[in-house]
Symmetry: C2
Subunit: 338 residues, 2 copies
């Protein structure tokens, strides 16, 4: 395997993400209770399917961000827990529809919900969770929160449609790719952080600082995810390596390798990712070309840039344990090997 | 053709639905402008796909109900137009997802959006319209409206999931069938009417009266739709007869024919609708059995019952042209031959 990245395996008991999660552990277990209660429906298949995905052991990264942002803003109320549940519902609804759209069979190392329950149920339960998330927001009663999260939801959908257009197009520009991941991934990170400041009624500068932190963390997160899809280290987590390659999903490593390649290499990318004409050994060839052109390494470098912006965004806030943890998560997200 | 219904063809230039629409014509053209403006996105495929469906010539029945309800309540503001657009967006999003779920190729006599743009785009543009509808509601700024329409959206999704369970089950009870159509069709009619009273800040009794009118109108509407799917008169509108039959969708005409049938007849229903083992002549046989057992006639009779409840629900309101038009729409929906 000729994959060259600077993601050295770091085996440790507790990651910075664990540390951040530990700081909001009590709130998070309240959020988990809200999630279970509020995905209830008299139509059995809904809690079954939603529970299958929600219990499938996601990192709860987005709700943790909402809780941590509220903590950073010194919030002492209860509404942040409901909003954290809202954010997880929106995320789960997006995953359900995403898997239908991608025709994925695997999610977090398990059979995806659409593979188990069927596409129809996945579309409809996604709709249910999405509607339920708005019901919960209405209970909280903040029009500002509703504005931020309805906007985020529309932007996510736009990002997904945009991605349909870039899929299989090897000439996708770095800028176009960035637009997609800002919309489909980073916007929800940004909104999840921002609403923490909104419930705490903090000044707009803090709201926007948290939005910027989330946005840039989200971009970095997705860039590294895209790198990991070509990294052998993925296999450890039950994730398949090369999913994006097989689907012809154009991510930054491909954009860079394509643009830096010669004619013969570009023909390779067109055959495999545009025409989806793939043979034994093509994934390994793709990995070799990425190594040759430093495509993975430089994608991580780009991620570090966004991580730096996120770091400075939090400069306004006083130094507290939760701020330190949020900053450590940045490095972790970029340097992780899973 | 042995289809016996009491739906006599009534050829007239202007239907009661046209008359109701004429009463709110100015508002409706403002709503159409809002719809076009607000389905805009920098991602071209979104207005293209949404426009394809929205321009496909629906009756705009739900937004007309919102406008008429506001008029009935003496509302003089502007918010009802935005809410009428919201209701149409939610309806359109539901149609998009419904066609994906049903794998329909035809909608209103045209190729369905999923047949033209693909399932992926239909799921995602549905999500976009749904999110956008919440953004518009936030602009209106009424938490009561947000509560009613987010609840309605969740109920619609529940109804669709519930329908997955009853599809192909010939032993579905009339009650179970009613639960499905109340949720997936009538709830949005009810909410569309109710928000007209909410923006007008009318007392709760009027709000609920309009909710009941919409709910019972919606049930009657769906029952008659289900009858028409077995009626030769459908063909006139470019609608295929027997769609529900071919999909094994259990509707009240089937529920009644199955329960009133003998063993041999029930075996027929099981073969055709549960096992979907259908042959030449089976649709005609289904129509004969419905005629034999008055299944279509009695479904229309049931629709009349809900129409009567809807009529009495409006008893609270003073006699005005718009009230008269809303009452005439009830008879029209039940006695229409399309």
């Amino acid at each position: 395997m000729a994959v060259v990245t600077n993601l050295e395996p770091k085996r440790r008991k507790s990651t910075p993400l664990d540390d951040l999660t530990a700081l909001v552990a009590d709130d998070l277990s309240a959020v988990n209770e809200i999630i279970v209660q509020r995905m209830h429906s008299s139509v059995d298949m809904i809690p079954q399917l939603a529970g299958y995905l929600i219990a499938a052991g996601g990192k709860r990264l987005r709700p943790v961000l909402t809780l941590a942002a509220a903590e950073l803003c010194g919030y002492k109320g209860e509404d942040h827990k409901m909003l954290a549940a809202v954010v997880e519902f929106i995320h789960t609804a997006t995953l359900l529809h995403d898997d239908v759209v991608d025709e994925s069979d695997l999610r977090r190392g398990l059979a995806s919900a659409n593979a188990v329950f069927g596409n129809k149920a996945s579309v409809l339960v996604g709709d249910f969770l999405f509607s339920r998330s708005f019901e919960l927001m209405v209970e909280v009663g903040s029009l500002d929160v509703l504005r931020i999260l309805s906007k985020a939801s529309a932007v996510i959908a736009e990002g997904e449609v945009l991605q349909l257009r870039t899929t299989n197009d090897t000439e996708t520009s770095e800028q176009a790719y960035l637009e997609v991941i800002k919309a489909k991934t980073a916007e929800l990170f940004a909104a999840a952080c921002r609403v923490g400041a909104v419930v705490a009624a903090r000044p707009q500068a803090e709201e926007l600082a948290l939005y910027d932190y989330g946005m840039n963390l989200g971009i970095a997160f997705q860039l590294v995810d895209d790198v990991l899809d070509y990294s052998a280290k993925q296999a450890k987590l039950g994730k398949t390596v090369g999913d994006d390659f097989r689907e012809g999903k154009i991510t930054l490593p491909v954009v860079l390798a394509f643009r830096r390649g010669n004619d013969e290499e570009r023909a390779f990318w067109r055959r495999t990712m545009e025409e989806l004409d793939q043979q034994e050994g093509d994934l390994e060839r793709a990995q070799e070309l990425m190594a040759k052109h430093n495509a993975l390494k430089d994608t991580v470098e780009r991620a570090r840039h966004y991580g730096s912006i996120a770091r400075d965004a939090l400069g306004l806030f006083p130094d507290t344990p939760v701020k330190a943890a949020l900053l450590e998560v940045l490095d972790f997200v970029i340097e992780r090997d899973f």
